[in-house]
């Protein structure tokens, strides 16, 4: 009897049915762990024996010259680019190199692209709706209903990103900065464990930068955030720990002050006056 | 005056078949015009109704229905491909229309409402093979065709026929190609190899339409001439030749029931009329045109005989009607709705014409059901009462599906 009950229990999920979606194991500290990663494109080494560890709940800034491999690194983490060698782990359970992009995304890694990419033929509202953390399989998506709970959540985010008035505008007509915000909004809707943010403040005014900084710092702790940015003012305002990439590997790592006084970093990246 | 007699013309004027069919439309218009000048028939004028089924088979059925149901035509002249005929057949039968079908075909059909004025396989293929075997001494055979029903059936019939005549299976090579096939290199090279075994070899070609030009070109270029390996074609007529540079093809053969080069007065008159009608000195005539000529005249005669255009009356009246053909003889409508025809073999000339090298001593009656196919050798067709059956099985003494359908 109890066996039957157990078998028919609707809440029960069989072990074999729950592979990839299982929670991220962060008992050992790091949420993201890259070791010995190498990538080359047609002989050009974009990532060169890269080692990087991000702790759970950490807010990490990554800086480095153009072409240092920051975006490529994010591509590797999100499964867009496959490294030639090396290993990438999410928590201590998930080997990201074996997973596809949607799998990685549903594990809880969200990403904002360097060049803002939103769904131009959909409205701002719909963009956020699609990003929302829900069951993303086919049939649930087909039968999904817009509940007030969801709606409130979207409104909330719209508020944060300041696009409330444009909620019904097509995303395609947004200005560059507005798209940046929308993408951040989509990231928020996704509620990921790990946020990868590529140049969030490009094209924003000083004040918007401040708001973004606040937003990101407020997320840290609950979620882990990796920020790539070239605006030193912004980096300084949020940074706890900074990693400098150069030619595909880590050049320096430490607090903002440590890093910005590193002569090597000044030479290849900051320039004399920064 | 009374209402005109409406003549539906159902030939493709666009699409892939326009190349062959559009001249038949003009032929019909010419015949109708001529008949009208001669006072029409039964004191009524004839009125053509032209539609374009656009080489699209379902559209053929639709247009046939339009002609019969909407335009209320008294008779339809039309179709070229077998599939288009198959497509309109149920419509013609359902609405009890009359269809004159002018093209040589694979046989295996006999409908109460259709009159087959083109050749059945026994009026084209068999005599041609006889000629090759007896007069040319061919011992090895290539049966090359486009992959559709007419070549398939014809080749099946010929295969049985040849084997009956003692040709070994190894001496028959069968090859099918898709519609519009244009790359004949490998096949022609195979034919060449097949033909170099020391026995006289011939190709029986049921290659259709556009595929012929590249085929003959390749033959010419690979140096196969008619003296070595003659090709006898069942689908290449004057009209097809008018698109080919015939110089390298001289001597290849075709089997038809009519050639433009036939030396008869009826033919010369027909050619003159056609040249005048089309306004083109170079215009050519061909076998399906003759078929329409015969079919049209038979229809006129039948209407005169019946004294009405009522379909059933015409159907009855037309059996046994004989009209002159263009080769100097007469064509008679047989009870199986096929007609009698002479069979001619012609050799291609450098002027795009055929010169007749052989002909049957008398006309041959078309056979709806082939004697060389196991499924149909026991079937006959006779649309005279009391038999009135298109597929009467002489062994079991029953009339195919018809009788059963009626019994239900």
């Amino acid at each position: 009897m109890s066996l039957i009950q157990e078998l028919t229990n609707r809440d029960k999920v069989f072990e074999f049915l729950v592979p990839a979606q299982s929670p991220v194991d962060v008992r050992h500290g790091p949420i993201l762990y890259l070791e010995g990663v190498n990538v080359s494109f047609d002989g050009f080494r974009a990532i060169n024996n890269l080692n990087l560890t991000i702790d759970d709940g950490e807010l990490r800034c990554i800086i480095g010259p153009n072409g240092a491999g920051k975006t490529t690194m994010m591509d590797i983490i999100t499964g867009k680019t496959r490294p030639d060698t090396g290993s990438v782990w999410f928590g201590s359970r998930h080997n990201l190199l074996t997973l596809s992009e949607p799998d990685i995304a549903s594990l809880g890694i969200g990403r904002k692209f360097q060049k803002p990419t939103v769904f131009e033929a959909l409205t701002v509202f719909e963009n956020l709706e699609l990003a929302m953390a829900t069951d993303k399989r086919i049939l649930p998506t087909l039968t999904a209903i817009m509940t007030t709970e969801y709606r409130d959540r979207i409104d909330e985010v719209l508020e944060i990103i300041g696009l409330k008035e444009l909620r019904l505008a097509l995303a395609g007509i947004l200005s560059h900065g507005q798209k940046q915000w929308l993408e951040i909004g989509m990231l928020l809707m996704q509620k990921p464990r790990l946020l990868l943010v590529d140049e969030p403040v490009a094209g924003m005014t000083e004040q918007e930068m401040e708001r973004t900084a606040e937003l990101l710092t407020s997320l840290a702790g609950k979620q882990s955030v990796v920020v790539v940015e070239h605006d030193m003012g912004f980096v300084r305002s949020i940074a706890r720990k900074v990693t400098v990439l150069h030619q595909g590997s880590v050049l320096a790592e430490g607090s903002m002050d440590q890093v910005s006084n590193d002569p090597e970093v000044i030479k290849v990246y900051l320039g004399e006056e920064a | 005056a009374e209402d005109p007699i409406k003549v539906g013309i159902l030939h493709s004027l666009s699409g892939t078949m326009a190349i062959s069919e559009s001249t038949l439309k003009d032929t019909m218009l010419m015949l109708i015009e001529k008949q009208n000048k001669a006072g029409g028939v039964l004191g009524r004028q004839l009125e053509p109704v032209v539609v374009d089924p656009a080489s699209n088979w379902p559209l053929f059925a639709e247009k046939a229905r339009e002609l019969l149901a909407k335009e209320k035509v008294d008779v339809i002249f039309g179709n070229w491909t077998s599939v288009s005929r198959k497509s309109v057949l149920p419509v013609i039968e359902e609405l009890n229309g009359l269809l004159f079908y002018p093209v040589q075909y694979e046989g295996e059909e006999s409908s109460e409402n259709v009159f087959y004025t083109g050749a059945a396989p026994n009026q084209q293929a068999i005599p041609a093979v006889d000629y090759l075997m007896n007069d040319i001494g061919v011992e090895r055979w290539v049966l090359a065709g486009t992959d559709y029903v007419y070549p398939r059936t014809t080749n099946k019939i010929l295969e049985t026929y040849l084997k009956d005549k003692g040709v070994a299976a190894g001496d028959i090579m069968i090859n099918y190609t898709p519609f519009g096939h244009s790359n004949w290199q490998a096949i022609v090279s195979d034919i060449k190899a097949f033909g170099s075994a020391g026995k006289k070899t011939a190709v029986v070609s049921t290659i259709n339409g556009d595929a012929n030009v590249p085929f003959y070109r390749e033959l010419g270029n690979q140096g196969i001439d008619a003296a070595d390996i003659p090709v006898v074609a069942f689908s290449v007529g004057e009209q097809e030749l008018s698109g080919i540079d015939t110089a390298p093809l001289v001597g290849h053969l075709a089997a038809w029931n009519y050639f433009m080069s036939v030396e008869s007065d009826a033919n010369y008159d027909f050619i003159d009329a056609w040249v005048a009608y089309s306004g083109n000195e170079e215009a050519v005539t061909n076998d399906p045109m003759e078929a329409h000529y015969i079919g049209f005249n038979m229809y006129i005669e039948a209407v005169k005989k019946a004294g009405t255009t009522d379909v059933d009356a015409v159907k009855d009246a037309i059996i046994g009607v004989a009209v002159p053909n263009l080769t100097g003889g007469y064509a008679t409508m047989m009870p199986n709705h096929h007609i009698t025809k002479p069979v001619l073999i012609g050799e291609i000339q450098d002027n795009g014409q055929f010169s007749v090298v052989w002909e049957t001593p008398s006309t041959v009656a078309g056979d709806a059901w082939s004697d060389f196919l196991p499924g149909s050798k026991d079937l006959i067709s006779d649309w005279r009462k009391p038999l009135f059956c298109g597929n009467f099985n002489v062994v079991s003494g029953t009339c195919g599906g018809k009788a059963k359908a009626a019994a239900e």
Partner: protein, 232 residues
């Protein structure tokens, strides 16, 4: 160099630029500022001809009326454009990207001016790589380099520092100054970053909701103005 008068622009129904007036004096760097979505990029596109204007005039070099000219003719007049979002040709190599600019050069020069490569050595290094394969910052450098190839008289830069590493941003600033001073180039700059604007621009103009709300020497860019128009 460029005088904009009573410019009105619409995206379909929505009125984006309102009676806009702006002076871009010869041999100076004028910086346009404003919050997101106020119409800065739109204005640049109007000058370049990528968006059509409803009314108003764009007088170039005191006598040429731009509104009637085709885009390519504006380029031929010597307007170089570095658009927002880089707009490089992704499938052309870096070198080919640069060579597109040779079409309009009056001197019929067939090679890419050495200056471009000097300024952005990375472009020389990656000459044969496809534009789309470059990193974001490299693309931005390519976009600027490409505009320089045509040796423009007026250079329009829409947020040129975006995504570029700090030392190169500074370098770009220096180059702008140098070109202005040595070649008498006129620059129209869209920039959000105050320090950069303050350091390299001569004049400023602030847009708000499609209108010009302030204008003047860069020294006159007070905190008050900033607070009023550039803060959300």
């Amino acid at each position: 160099m460029l005088r904009i008068d009573k410019l009105n622009q619409y995206y379909g129904e929505s009125h984006t630029l309102w009676d806009l007036e702006l002076d871009v004096p010869q041999g100076q760097c004028t910086c346009v500022m404003g919050r997101n979505g106020v119409g800065k990029t739109t204005l640049m596109k109007c000058i370049m001809g990528e968006e059509s204007v409803k009314s108003g005039s764009l007088a170039f070099a005191s006598d040429v009326e731009l509104t009637q000219k085709k885009i390519e003719d504006r380029a031929r007049l010597g307007i170089g454009y570095v658009p927002q979002g880089r707009q490089i040709f992704p499938l052309l190599t870096v070198e080919e990207n640069l060579r597109t600019g040779l079409a309009v050069r009056k001197d019929g020069c067939k090679v890419i001016p050495a200056r471009v490569y000097e300024l952005f050595p990375v472009l020389k290094e990656m000459r044969h790589r496809r534009g789309g394969d470059l990193s974001g910052g490299q693309q931005q450098q390519l976009a600027i380099g490409r505009a320089l190839v045509i040796e423009p008289r007026l250079l329009i830069l829409d947020e040129p520092g975006e995504g570029i590493q700090p030392n190169i941003v500074a370098q770009i600033g220096e180059v702008i100054r140098k070109l202005i001073e040595e070649d008498g180039l006129t620059v129209l700059l869209v920039e959000q970053k105050l320090p950069f604007a303050r350091k390299y621009a001569d004049r400023f103009a602030i847009l708000d909701r499609g209108r010009r709300v302030a204008e003047g020497e860069i020294a006159g860019l007070t905190d008050e103005l900033i607070k009023k128009h550039l803060t959300v």
